[in-house]
Amino acid sequence: MIELKDLTKRYDGFIAVKNLNLRVSGGEIFGFLGPNGAGKTTTIKMIAGVLIPSSGSITICGLDLASQAEEAKRRIGYIPDRPFLYEKLTGYEFLQFTADLYGTGKGGQDGIEVLLEMFSLAAWADELIESYSHGMKQRLIIAAALLHDPEVIVVDEPMVGLDPAGIKKVKGLFKQKAREGTAVFMSTHTLDLVEDICDRIGVIHKGELIALGTAGELREKTNVPGGRLEEIFLHLTDRQGS
């Protein structure tokens, strides 16, 4: 579903992501961890197609993101870390806008009502987004990302601003989507969430992938048997030097 080959991103003499090679299959929830400034958001943005890599390639469902951008993006649901939206549209209009943009047709229309209910936004659907709280905007973005039933979900810090009920709902939703065959690529600092729902974990540090595997495999690799993910993470990143 998602395949990264020698993915590199350089900015004016600084390498944000270096030769990243990774494959995430359908039905898998992949947790992408790393300290601040490690290159997580840069990687996520490249996978979502909003940032062009300096070199390397990204394949989404067999489609090359560079040469078949529109077709590949149609298969992605992207949830950024900060909920910047068109504040002068209502929640309903924003979902309608997304449905039209992704060409979902009649199914999208029905989907809007379902998602508004699912994310407890129906009561505010006809009010301007500018009056929404941070959490409501985050829920709206998640709803919009799911509207076209994407085969790949790319998500950066999904739980920021969500209340406990919202967090539970989103966790359940990701698990359900994975069961239906969707690949979920998730970057987060919430290690409990990763332990809870991720099938595999990748740790990026200073732009390089320093560890990859299941939570169990990482425990073995780091020699922290029975340790919590927090200890493994700190062990891995400390060893590399921060």
Binding site: Y11, A48, G49, V50, L51, I52, S54, A69, E70, E71, A72, K73, R74, I76, Y78, P80, R82, F84, L85, Y86, E87, K88, L89, T90, Y92, E93, Q96, F97, T98, A99, D100, L101, Y102, G103, D126, E127, L128, E130, S131
Partner: protein
Amino acid sequence: MNEIYRLVKPRLYSAKNRIIGDGVRGRGFKAFFLAGLGLAFWGLIFIIFYRVLSYFKRVEGFGDILALKLLSMVFFTFFVILIMSSLINLVAKLYLSRDLGLVFALPVKPEKVFLARGLEAAFDSSWMVIAFSLPVFLSYGIIFAGGGIFYLVAGASLIFLALGATGVSAVIVLLAALLLPAARLRTVTVFLGVLLFVFLILSLRLLKPEQLVNPESFLTVIQYLEALQTSGNALLPTTWAYDALQAALPGGRGDWYFHFGLLLSFVGTLGFLSFWIARPAYFPGFSRAQNAGRPPVFRRSKSRWAFFLSGAPRALLLKEIKTFFRDQTQWPQLILIAALVAVYVYNFAVLPLGTVPWRGTNLKNMVSFLNLGLSAFVLISLAARFVYPAVSAEGEGFWLIRAAPIKIETYLLVKFLVYLLPLLLLAEILVIATNLILEVSDFMMALSVGTIFLIVPGIVSLALGLGAARPDFQTENPAQTATSVGGLIYMLLSALFVTIVVVLEAGGAYLVFMAELKGEELTLRHWGWLTGSFLPVAALSVVAIVYPFRYGKRRLGELMKNR
């Protein structure tokens, strides 16, 4: 006082950082370019006023009266502009600034915050008006041989008028925040300011200043002189400033310090009054403005009028129109444009062309031809305000476009069409209405309509393309991007484009005018000239549409490599 200084300090630091800078590429060029442009404008104002006042001075008898009448109009205009500008600034600084939440969490009394913000607003809203009014007073000083006291009174009057205008606006804004629905605060106060400005334009226009140079329209010379000498309302601070300055000139009437004292007491009273109101009213008003109450609910519409589109173009079109019209900061500007257009067309109705015995119809055709260029320049400034910032207006939400399965050209094309249609319509209405008033020939009407049809798409494409090439998605006010280097380059290129079009068409148009004047039929030579003029104009218009659009598309695409 120390607390107020500490509150203003962040602003001073950021100003210092902007000036000293960190060597960001292009900053030096930008500063140099803007300073040069400002200086040129400053010089232009000086030359115009110097020449007009020199001319007045030569008119025996009532030349001085005309010059002083002009001075009182200048004071009144400045004061209205200062009030409008400080109203807008104060609403933003006292109630809407993002940092206010942090400032109110500090152990500082709200009235101190009010004073610090009031001073900032007074500076922001007046520095430009004061800077560009200096050449006006300099020319008065030179022509009327004003001494040091004249310049001193002029400078001090301007500063105190600015402080007075901020005081008046502060009282209005403080009371508005307590009385108006909080969510409407910005809209209503901005509306007030714009209405004041529109009132100024219309009242100055309806005074028919052209009659002041046409004494025949008055029944007697005495009536005419009385009309000129009517002093302003004795209760207006602009009258006190004017009287003080007039008294400071050699041979002036009265004592300048009496009138200046009146102005000073006005500013002192306003300062005390606004501070007195701010103590109990500012923080409750701010707190109220944070709670917007129940937001408005919008009816779901199927937007059937957009039936001809589907998918992404439809989504982008509806989004563009809804977000534009729901942005209340756009409304006052639309009212302002409507007023300016009305004044523009009205000016043609009062042009005394009928009284000119020389070649009446031909003169009207020539005026109409010049009007073609003038309308295009109006369009250039409108496109600078609305089209150039159109991509920047996406703000941080631009990631939605980047992530969506659409091509950048589709996105830009929709924007192009959204702005092209109303601007083309407006431009055609402008030239057709003025041509009908001028009663021009059929040829001139066809030339005007055809030329506007060719150049408006070019102007829109230049604005959109160059705006897309240098977008600023972080700005709080996208309209400000029009004053960036990119905006100025757009203005220069558009002005060059329109000038070339007018020059190219001038030859052909002149030949046809002359043939009409002599009552001759159009020959093959005339048609050859017209074709030779129009074909390059059409080709140039195509270039003006295609290249800026492609440039904007390419640069916007490259942006995804860097951010």
